[in-house]
Symmetry: D2
Subunit: 402 residues, 4 copies
């Protein structure tokens, strides 16, 4: 029998703040009522702020993030279109697979898991594409399977350097609203996010933030894929009035209102800084335990999820099972080729320093139970030291004010 | 400023019972946890009971019902396939539109709005299709725009009479779990439902109940439409273990557990009988006010929604606006060609007799405010008389027991 | 098995608005945290506004309203003190009983049930009390058992006319925050209220609003009753810092914050006007059914509860049982001598016109089922006519604005 | 701005489990409905099981635990009665104070804070009371201010050894439902508990479990204190039918149902064992940090709360403030003479091992920030070692089963 708070340290769904849970606990309402647009038009506007997408628009689909991946493709590309993708983890792999199923001509660059988007290889390929056969370039901003963040601005530079007109697709499911994302500045055309990560909502709603260029591509004369549920046109016609082409999950809108309020009250820059600080604390803890990250170097470190190799001879799945069953803590598993070798700590969303210490404490004890030779307390102590050091300037200020 | 309980008499989303709201108000959980299948496998099994689909399987998609419409088509048909559809209201119209967008060769039979599926016309067309060019026959079980229920068993008889192998697609969004639906017995191959009607959940989850024949069609060698988000194969691979191919909205599963428990505790037959009794009470009330239904005769009456013509010279949209603004009551509007002429009362889901009296009271006062010449109280009184009469046998029993 | 919304038309607990329920659904918190006073000090201030008590203070006790009755007595009176009380219903009766148990020398004036405080009799008694032996005068502002409201300002005039120094105790449990109450202006010294009526919260918190004079009486040198749980001094010492002498139910504070916000957003005057309009609608409905109120005349009508005689030969308890079991509606019962003769409709708190129509519809059908000869629909129609007439000026305005 | 889960490690209110929160989130209901007794009579019965009081009865008062202290006294004792009490912390002190205010002739034995009930001194006093002038003996089972548990069975032995008829009063607010309590076996006559500790509910409901002897004392001919709100007789008359003499907070009953279900599903013995194991883990952590408990020795250790001396030169209030403001963790403060020297960790209610590790991690970092020389991680590591060792037999079993 289970007691107490269960810790959720998977990289999504994340902990839904009580404020958001409360906000969502509403009676059903008339999705065609005259009052709804006051709520929804505000959400559309604020989502644009969250994506830093001033010029385009954001769609909300009742679907998981995977649905928004599909929406992005169906509305702007046609079967047989050539696209450039990189694969360096399970989620970039799945996106490749979807693109292939939907009939795209996918040119895949495989990258060692632990690294992210290969700017050089992209540059070479883009440079070689003088005829602009590549219709779109895809990047997984944050590869959730490996805890690796890619350089989107770098990809933009590559495209610009060659004046290449390809659309830039970004999977930001586990990055947007947690780490820096600047759609306009980085020239991202289609950015995908989901409700259950940085937006701190339950799963079930996806966001697709679209540039003016992508909207134009949707409207132009080239035939696109057959589509209906995820069609932009239906959404645009209704969204502009604050409504939707089919029954929307209005309870999510109330939750999203609360979640966006929380993000803006904190300030996006502060949200990102908090994620960095908490992630770094977790990483120090990991290092304190003598463990290694999958991410191949600091330039790839993700501030939303860390994938961690267990020591040789230890079964990572056993660590995860022990954490779940004995210590009421959910960690993420190693996916595909990382299965059994890796466990993952999600450190995104509504999180604080003590929760991270607690994740480390649970990891330590579970590793030890699973037979790893680690020094108990060493992870907590290392994170602890970092948090104190990182907070030192703030503390001086606070103590002066006290 | 608004006070008190707002009455929701649209034909979905319906009132979510407090028990279901409570059940859904859960912290997020690990969608790959070892505990999840205990919950989800039970749901899959009980959904089959609710659809009376013993031999096939039910999918749950994070989407509106519209998504399940698309899933049904993408997984079993190919672009260019000939299908037979009937159009007799806004929702059957939208399904036709989707089928066309997805590239089907749709043969549409237009029927007077107020009637349902035209068995004779279907029979004629099926009889003529000796080569079985028609791959699928579509029926909207309950046309939500007109309050008309169609005879699905009749369509099955037509197909059987001609040994026609077409798949039978049914839109049961506003019927299933509220009025009788027998998938196996009626030979329905793909039945679509949504969370927010008879299943008494918020919007955001769709159900697609699929026969063995439809599953075989999905697996056979004919190419089907490009698909990924709604692909059966991914779902099947994961669902069999109690998991999902992408992050599922687990909060809905807890709500669905409660909703199915409520349906089975009451007993499906009793659920249907209750819907009939409440619907008939509303219809008597409508008649008591001298108003006419859109449904062209009793054989078409829907037990989940009534579409009601306002008297000549009265603007139905004004009635709806008054009900909403002055009397805290949401009625459905007249859609498409019925706009301005019709208002709709949804009477499905978690409902009782006094709620129906209350809907009638709100309708009376709103009609009067909008200038209709009606006798105040006449609707309530007529429904009242019916409820007392309908309950009489039960009451005799109860009084004997007291 | 029960379905749908259960109607609550008892005179408290009243319907807790969803907004308040949401606000109360909070994790427990540290009752000594530095953040708590920000919440609680605001509540104390706003409660004073709600009682129109600028000069004194309001206490919040974790108790029912009955506890606040006791607190009022224990802190300002001593065993053997003479007090003047009137008894005209079950709740004024219970207060008399409490006063006697606590050792007061109670002079009771019995009044016909259906009338309220007897100003003449009070005047006679006060005039005769030249030596000011009467330490306190008690009045039940709104007698919940009979649906009768008393004239508090009139009692104040009586005391002032004779310059009588007695403390004025008022039971405002079923009046305050629903109908007009002006503590400072009316010179009320101790006003009792509960969370579960006009304040729209669940039961469990009581309010005692105390004048400066009553606080002085608490502090003066005369010995008072033994007390500890309800002692003012402990509360004052802690409340001034925003804290409490024992563990407070902090969840109520969040609910109270929301409830007070709702009251002030609407405006207390509008709250009172709404209660009057809704109550009058119910009364018209009652009259439309040919039934009689217990309240002996319009000057006694309560805007928060109506006690209604059933026709001769009908058992009121049977009406209530039928309403509860068949029609999902809770009415109040006839208390003490009114038992079996009376049912009560509470019409206070978070309420709107259609809810009142619905209560009348449920009353009609339940009365008919119980054998009463009433005209179905007549109650709804009469209320309906009143609401339309009462709203006419507003409507003209609204229509002009549309 | 605050993020993430706030840790609540005060000794009450404790963390309300999500299941209990959900259960309490109900619409208001008719407190006189025919359905209520089904719920309430079950609660009364199960509360008796929780107190191990088969022969007597349990009262539920809408009040804090302090109210139940008062109820116990008012209903069985008279002003001037001699009672024996021991004072060894802030809560035993407050109970003495209440007894004095209510007019009892209190003989107080002061004990060094850090120890509990002085059996020798009680024995001496009881032995000397040949005339049985002492009407009641009071014991604070668990002194929440010092983290000290007293030997109730020992007090019973003292009374029995001298065949002394005094009533035995026990304050079990922070013990019952968390650590062993056996009312019948220990001959406890009046046992006080509150909703917000081991019963895992929000504050606002108190429990008073009363033996047959105490009920007889309530009924006998000796005059008792004036009482009304807390009078047993009114409760008994109504409780036997499942009702209450004044509006009860029915939402608590639904929460209590869920909480009792949780306690019995786990099994009371397992609940106690869990509390012991978690408490011991915390104590090992404290020792690992080189800190000292207020409790003067293992025989006094409380399994629900630990009071911990901070090192010389460190301000305990600063530690608490830092924990609250920087590390989102609420610890209890040092009360009265312990103020500034002590912080307290509540470890009761809905709790698991990782939460305890997390409390220790927060304590470590807050102590360090406040200038204490402690070894970071040492507390977590020591608790960790204990949990692994304590769980070893269970783990062997589990691993065999896996």
């Amino acid at each position: 029998m289970k007691h107490g708070i269960r810790q959720l340290f998977i990289p999504g769904p994340t902990n839904v703040p009580d404020r958001v849970r409360r906000a969502m606990n509403v009676p059903m309402e008339d999705q065609r009522s005259p009052d709804l647009p006051e709520l929804t038009l505000g959400l559309f506007g604020d989502l644009k702020r969250a994506f830093r997408n001033e010029s385009g628009r954001v769609f909300m689909f009742p679907s998981s993030g995977t649905g928004a991946w599909e929406a992005a493709i169906q509305n702007t590309l046609a079967s047989g279109d050539k696209v450039l993708m990189a694969r360096f983890g399970q989620f970039s792999h799945l996106w490749v697979e979807m693109a292939q199923r939907l009939g795209l001509d996918v040119e895949v660059i495989d990258v060692e898991w632990g690294k992210g988007v290969p700017l050089d290889a992209y540059e070479a390929r883009i440079a070689a594409d003088a005829d602009h056969e590549i219709r779109a370039v895809f990047v997984t901003h944050n590869e959730t399977a490996t805890g690796v963040t890619s350089d989107i601005a770098g990809v933009r530079k590559v495209l610009d350097a060659h004046s290449h007109p390809a659309l830039l697709f970004v999977d930001g499911v586990s990055s947007i609203a947690s780490i820096e994302f600047r759609q306009d500045e980085w020239g991202v055309d289609l950015a995908v996010a989901g409700s259950q990560k940085g937006f701190m909502l339950p799963a079930g709603l996806s966001f697709l933030s679209v540039s003016e260029k992508a909207l134009a591509a949707n409207h132009d004369n080239r035939p696109k894929m057959a589509r209906s549920y995820f069609a932009f046109a239906d959404q645009i016609a209704m969204n502009d009035q604050g409504y939707f082409p089919y029954t929307p999950p209005t309870q999510f809108f109330h939750g999203l209102r609360a979640a966006l309020d929380m993000l803006f009250e904190e300030g996006l820059e502060n949200v990102f800084a908090r994620h960095h600080r908490l992630a770094e604390g977790v990483r120090r803890g990991i290092q304190g335990l003598g463990l290694k990250l999958v991410a191949a170097g600091p330039q790839w470190y993700s501030d939303t999820v860390s994938a961690i190799y267990v020591p040789e001879g230890v079964d990572a799945n056993r660590v995860i099972k022990i954490a779940y069953e004995r210590y009421d803590t959910s960690f993420g598993g190693g996916l595909a080729r990382l299965n059994g070798k890796v466990f993952r700590i999600g450190h995104l969303g509504d999180l604080n320093a003590v929760m991270c210490l607690s994740a480390l404490a649970a990891a330590e004890i579970s590793l030890a139970d699973a037979g790893a030779k680690i020094t108990p307390g060493a992870g907590v102590a290392a994170a602890h030291a970092y948090f104190r050091e990182a907070d030192a300037p703030v503390l001086v200020e606070r103590q002066a004010a006290e």
